[in-house]
Symmetry: C2
Subunit: 436 residues, 2 copies
C-alpha cells in the first residue's frame, strides 16, 4: 500500500464523506481508516457520493480498507436507508410471504429479528442467524455501504388482521397495456431491498435475512442487480443502464425545496393516511426486460430520438449538458420538434405529469439468456415517492399511451410496498404498525 | 474530488501499479489519471494487485477515474490476459458452438474479429459490433481491468477439420462420482472468459463479443460470476467463497521457480504437443453448486475440520497464518490428527498429488433460488495448468475418493479448453492453429 498517500488520503476521505459515526455496538468486522472511521453517508443526501479515497498503512502492518469497504450507512435515522443512499454496485430484491399460521405476532417477532440483523450487518458486524452462527461470507470486508430496507405489501395487512391499517396508496396498481407480469415474481407480503458496493457483503446479508425468516416467512421471489463499481466512472450522480443510456437525470435533488415532500409521507400524515406511515415512503418495483437485440439494431441517432437525450452525456437533444432544461418547443431545420412528442424523457418530465415526481433508484439485471441467445437483461426499476398515485401511476399512464421506448421494453414483474420510517433506537421497522 | 490528495495519490498510483502503457490505437473512452496513464497490470504477476488510488482533479474541471476504472490489462503479451491477472469483481463465462456450415475459414474470421474487439475493449475504446455501432454501455467508464480470454474445446477440432491439431490434453475429463453434469451447460467449441472490476464494462464486452459471433457461432451457455470489489477488503491475494472460506491459498505464486512451467505449455512444446499451444494453458471450468443450507447448519468448528483451515484467516488448523505450512502429522490432545485425513485442504496439497498444481481463479455465482428457497449459488471454479492430466485430473480424482467437502457441493457443469498464447501485435488468438 502507498504509505506516501497517508495523510492526504485521510483528509481527502474526510472531505469527501459526511459526518462520521462510531460503530454502535460490538466490534466492527474491520478497523476502519484511522480517525475517519467510516464514510458516514449522509442520509437524505441522495445525490451525494462518498469520496473514494485510498487507504494507507497505519503502522501496524495491516492494510486498512479503502472507503469502498469502509463506507457505512446508518440503520437508524429519519428514513430507512437505501432510499436516498447513493446507488450501490450490487443489489438484491426479495419478497417473502408469511407462512400459513403466521400472523401479526409472528410478523412482529420477525421484523424485530430482521431489524436487529440489519443493524449489525450495516455496521459490518457478524450476525447470529437461525443456524446460530455467522456464515463468514463477509469476513474481512467492511460494511461497503450496505443498506437493508423493509417494506409491507398489500397482502400483508389481511393476513395479519391489520386491514384497517392498510394505506389506500397500497391499492393495486392499474393494469398497463405494456404489462407482461409474472405473478410469481410480483407482489408479496414483505419486501427487502439489499444494496452494497461488494457482492459478497450483499450476499452475506441476503443469507442472514433469509435464515432469520425461519418458519415465519417463505421466500416468494428474489432478484439480483448491479450498478457501476465506485471509481469505475467519473460520473458521480447518475448511472447508465444496459441500453447505454444515462439513467436518473430528472431525479428530484436533495436541494429541491420539495424533495422531502415528494419522497416521504409527512409527519403527521394527511387525513386518511395511517399514522404509522409518518416519515415513510412507497416503493414501486418493476422488472423491466430490455429487448436488447431490437434496441441495438437502431443507430445511436435513432436511439437518441427515442429517449430525447444524447447517449454520450445525457444532455437534451436541444443542447447543453445533462442538467440543462429541455427546450420542449424547439424545432429543427425540418420544422419538426427536436425532442419528439413521444420521446421518453419528454413524457417523464414532472411538468408534463402534473408535477408527479419520483426518485428512480434502479439496478440493472442480467439473468442468463433466452433460447434465441438474447440476454435476459434489463432494469430492476425501483422508484420512491410519497404517494404512488402522484408518482409512478400518472407517469406510467402517460408512458403507456405513447412512449417511443415501449417497443423496446417489457414489464415482467411488479411490486408496490409501503416502507415505513426508520425505527428509533431500540425499536424495529414497522413497530408502530405491528404494535400500534 | 479531493484536490489535496493530488500528488500523493498519483505517486501512490505509480507505486502500486506496474509499467504503464498508452492506448494503442484510437481514443480511449476516458482520459486516465495524469501521467500514470493506466494501472498497467503486469502480465504474469498473478499475485499482484493494483494499488487502488484515488483520482484527483487535474485542473480542467472533470473528475478523473480512480484506478478501479483506470486499471488496464494488455491484450498482447506472452500469455493471454485473465489467467494470472488478479481476480476481478465481475465475470462472465461463455461457450459458443460453430453454426452449421461454419468451418475453419469462418472460425478464423471470427477469431480475428474477436481479437480486434477484445483489444479495443481492454483499452477502453468503443467497438464496432455487428450492428455497426458501440452499445454505449461502457461509456464514461475506464477499462476497469477488463480481460477477455479465448479457448478452444474438444469439439472445435473435428468441426473445423483440424483433428490432427487437437492436443491429447483435450481428451474428455474422466467421470467423477460427484458429477451431476448438465451437458447443455458444459463443453462447447469456443470459450470466452470476461472479467472486469465493473459489471457494466463486463456486460458491454459480453454483448460486443456476442454480436461479433454473428451467424458464425451460436451461444451455447453463459454464466455470471463475481468476486470482491477492489477496496472492500484488506486481503490482497485471496478471495472468499460463498461458504465463507478463503479460497486459493495454495495457489502457485509467481515467485515460485516452477510457476511458469506449471501453468503454461513450454515453447517449443514437448514432443506430441502441437506447436500452436506453445505458451498456452489449459483451463478447466466447473460450475460447483454449494449446498448452502446443509453447510450453514454445521457449526464453524465442524466446517473448519471439513476444510482443514480456519475460517477467520485461512490458517491451517495446526496453527500460524494463511501462508504457514500445514503440519500434516500433528495430533491433538485426543491423539487424532488435527487436520483430518479427508480435509479438503490436505487432499488438494500439491505434495499429496504427485506435485500436481493448478492455479485456481474462480468467481462465485448466484442465480436465484430453488423452489425450496435455497440459493442456486456456489463457485464457478476456473483453474489453469500446463497439463490437465497433471493438474485438475489427479487432484479431482483424489477429492473424489474422500473429500469431506463433497457432501456439501455438486459439480453441475464442466468444460475443458485449450487457451493458446496471446497473439503477437497484428495477429489474432489461435492464428497459428487456424492458419498453421
Amino acid at each position: 500500500m502507498p504509505e506516501s498517500a497517508n495523510s492526504p488520503a485521510r483528509s481527502a476521505h474526510r472531505d469527501g464523506g459526511g459526518p462520521t459515526s462510531d460503530a454502535e455496538t460490538g466490534i466492527s468486522r474491520r478497523r476502519l481508516i484511522g480517525t475517519a472511521g467510516a464514510t458516514g453517508l449522509v442520509l437524505g443526501a441522495g445525490g451525494a457520493t462518498a469520496g473514494y479515497a485510498v487507504g494507507s498503512g497505519d503502522g501496524d502492518g495491516a492494510a486498512p480498507l479503502s472507503s469502498v469497504g469502509a463506507g457505512r450507512v446508518m440503520f437508524h435515522g429519519k428514513h430507512q436507508p437505501g432510499i436516498t443512499t447513493p446507488l450501490q454496485a450490487r443489489g438484491h430484491l426479495l419478497a417473502f410471504d408469511l407462512a400459513a399460521g403466521a400472523g401479526r405476532k409472528e410478523a412482529a417477532a420477525l421484523l424485530r429479528r430482521w431489524s436487529a440483523t440489519a443493524q449489525r450487518l450495516m455496521a459490518g458486524e457478524p450476525v447470529r442467524t437461525a443456524g446460530g452462527h455467522d456464515t463468514g461470507i463477509a469476513l474481512d470486508a467492511g460494511p461497503s455501504s450496505l443498506t437493508v430496507t423493509f417494506g409491507f405489501g398489500h397482502s400483508f395487512f389481511g393476513r395479519t388482521g391489520l386491514g384497517k391499517q392498510r394505506p389506500a396508496a397500497l391499492d393495486p396498481l392499474p393494469a398497463f397495456s405494456s404489462d407482461h407480469l409474472d405473478k410469481a415474481r410480483s407482489d408479496g407480503d414483505l419486501w427487502i431491498q439489499i444494496g452494497a458496493d461488494d457482492a459478497l457483503v450483499a450476499f452475506h446479508a441476503l443469507r442472514a435475512l433469509q435464515q432469520d425468516a425461519g418458519e415465519t416467512a417463505r421466500l416468494r421471489w428474489q432478484m439480483n442487480g448491479f450498478n457501476r463499481t465506485p471509481g469505475a466512472t467519473e460520473r458521480p450522480m447518475t448511472t447508465r443502464n444496459l441500453m447505454g443510456q444515462i439513467d436518473g437525470t430528472n431525479n428530484p435533488k436533495p436541494s429541491d425545496q420539495d424533495f422531502e415532500q415528494r419522497l416521504f409521507v409527512p409527519d403527521p400524515p394527511a387525513a386518511g393516511v395511517p399514522g404509522w406511515m409518518a416519515g415513510g415512503s412507497y416503493v414501486v418495483m418493476r422488472r423491466i426486460r430490455m429487448l436488447l437485440d431490437d434496441w441495438e439494431k437502431l443507430p445511436p441517432s435513432a436511439q437518441e430520438e427515442v429517449i430525447g437525450r444524447r447517449k454520450s452525456d445525457g444532455a437534451p437533444l436541444t443542447g447543453g449538458s445533462e442538467t440543462t432544461e429541455m427546450q420542449l418547443e424547439k424545432t429543427g431545420p425540418d420544422g419538426k420538434l427536436v425532442v419528439p412528442l413521444n420521446a421518453h424523457a419528454r413524457i417523464t418530465r414532472p411538468d408534463q405529469n402534473g408535477g408527479a415526481a419520483l426518485l428512480r433508484r434502479p439496478f440493472s439485471f442480467h439473468d442468463g439468456f433466452d433460447p434465441d441467445g438474447i440476454p435476459d437483461a434489463g432494469l430492476l426499476f425501483v422508484c420512491w415517492q410519497a404517494d404512488p398515485l402522484r408518482g409512478f401511476v400518472p407517469v406510467q399512464r402517460k408512458l403507456d399511451r405513447g412512449d417511443a421506448l415501449s417497443r423496446f421494453i417489457r414489464h415482467e414483474a411488479s411490486g408496490l410496498f409501503a416502507v415505513p420510517a426508520a425505527p428509533a433506537a431500540g425499536a424495529y421497522v414497522g413497530q408502530p404498525l405491528l404494535e400500534g
